[in-house]
Symmetry: C2
Amino acid sequence: MNDVSSDLYPAIRLDRAREAVRAAGLGALLLTPGPDLRYVTGYDAVPLERLTCLVVPAAGEPFLVVPRLEVAAAEHSPAGRLGVEFLAWDETDDPYGLVARRIPGLAAVGVADRMWAMQSLRLRAAMPGVEQVLAGTVLGELRIRKSAPEVAALREAGAAIDAVHRQVPGFLKAGRTEREVGRDIAEAILAAGHATVDFVIVASGPNGASPHHELSDRVVRPGDPIVVDIGGTMPSGYCSDSTRTYAVGEPPADFLASYEVLRRAQEAACRAVRPGTTCEAVDAAARQVIADAGFGEYFIHRTGHGIGLETHEDPYIVAGNTRRLEPGMAFSVEPGVYLSGRHGARIEDIVVCTESGGERLNNRPRDLVVVDA
Amino acid sequence: MNDVSSDLYPAIRLDRAREAVRAAGLGALLLTPGPDLRYVTGYDAVPLERLTCLVVPAAGEPFLVVPRLEVAAAEHSPAGRLGVEFLAWDETDDPYGLVARRIPGLAAVGVADRMWAMQSLRLRAAMPGVEQVLAGTVLGELRIRKSAPEVAALREAGAAIDAVHRQVPGFLKAGRTEREVGRDIAEAILAAGHATVDFVIVASGPNGASPHHELSDRVVRPGDPIVVDIGGTMPSGYCSDSTRTYAVGEPPADFLASYEVLRRAQEAACRAVRPGTTCEAVDAAARQVIADAGFGEYFIHRTGHGIGLETHEDPYIVAGNTRRLEPGMAFSVEPGVYLSGRHGARIEDIVVCTESGGERLNNRPRDLVVVDA
């Protein structure tokens, strides 16, 4: 997955990261494989126990500490055209000492937000007294505003997961288990162009009341509402995430009433998206509709999460987040109503803030899709 | 993927973990989603930004800090039958403070080896002065020896990936790209019963010389050797990982000569597996055959890695590792020969140490498979 466009991962991003390190007063950024490293370099390295670490010092040149057997992959990745020195290490070398010796005397470093403890604690041991802070404190402000090519990549991801939702009614049938349906969906996620399947939630009947239920051997029954929340990562590195709620045969009347409230709430939150609006105001727009209808206590999670190289990243659409939206911010709008022991429903689109409002990147119909039992 | 056998994840493991915490002189283990948490509880929680953390104190009862919207999933997982208290937190609560307040006054805690820095640094801030060490220092000795049900789960994973390798010759054809072949393989990995596709390496021609090359748009040509290294995770949580080398049409004569050396080296290392033998001796058994044939400098990585709930875990089969094998230890034996700019080859089986020797969990033929161009 290393053949990515230089528009999506421009070389200038490394310079911007260096400027941000200096501005933050840190001595260096230490980026192990994961979204922070991919954002800065385009290098889609696999997180493994052997240390791969891009060091971006405030003073001096960036370098990549890399296991010798990963050198070819790193060279062929977009990181190979950044002019960064590669420090290859062999199987019996100590890569943590290698990092420490090259950047002596620092007071504080930023470590990738997803760096494993296995690595952050070994770096700490190799660099005693050096404070570790999250790289996100530096990179977050860069990553939160998507460039036009990044928005295009998210749009492509949105179209791919929409293509899967288009097929879901054909997978749903009374008598099949959630797991059987989930297997079909996983294959469709790959067939639609994703590089990986990140999650497949098929929550039928009472399982729908658990927002993060995944798959079980429960058999779908006539009248079941079914929450289908699915996503994957595209070869570009950008993620998809969309939820639709289906019903196999005619669902209970009380479910239909709550679903209609949910549909209005999701619509209201999407319409609230525009530059200058706070994240918590978007959350409140959905929550108000649901509360007014008397279902407030059944909407038990935030309205959404940012999305990009991670399925969940800033900005979070949640009470208390007073951050104001800006063009290029992309996030989910996914209110839900969960009635414990009975059923649940959720509708989720990815929305990107534009100059004048919000653009939805998922466009499947939002009315309840009733499939023949 | 929460319906797992109580043989595979016995409830007694939590007690054993507590004993190990006390024996290590730690105040508590803090386990976020990942293989350490799954090993101790069977709970296959998704790693996300919201804190889920099992706390196993040396003194007092274990408890699970869990986002409210994950409570149902946690209750339905094997963790739900452990009698562990659940501390649910709401979207605007501080879960790090929640952990810290319940276990005051500790000197040191063990954190999951794969805990994200996002969480380990926030725990550090919430528990200032408390030393963090790796949970692996405590759990590693439990995880490294697989129980009979764990070996059975690895055997099932091995059979599943063997079933994929059986289909690979049908996917390989001159004129197809590595990526096209990789897509077919990914679908076959799921169809063979894996819950997830973890990696798909299709390294054709010169790409085979990069051990961790993944997929590219290179078109397979007649005469190409092709390294196919693939693996996934089964619904049990246990991983598969197997490599075979193929050729599309007749490969170069020098390739055939090096392949035959490799085959003998892999065989020698597998035969070296028995209780009491050191990890480095198994590595040396493969390396000696390759060095004797004059290819020593082209075998640029260790011979193998342990496997279980992680694709790479202890024990590592590498020079310098004087650990002695014991029944139940499971690991890959995967020597390779890499000729930069030309081609590469690797043969990989998972081997489990038994009372009397080693059992291979991958059983596809190891001779070069030549497919019609």
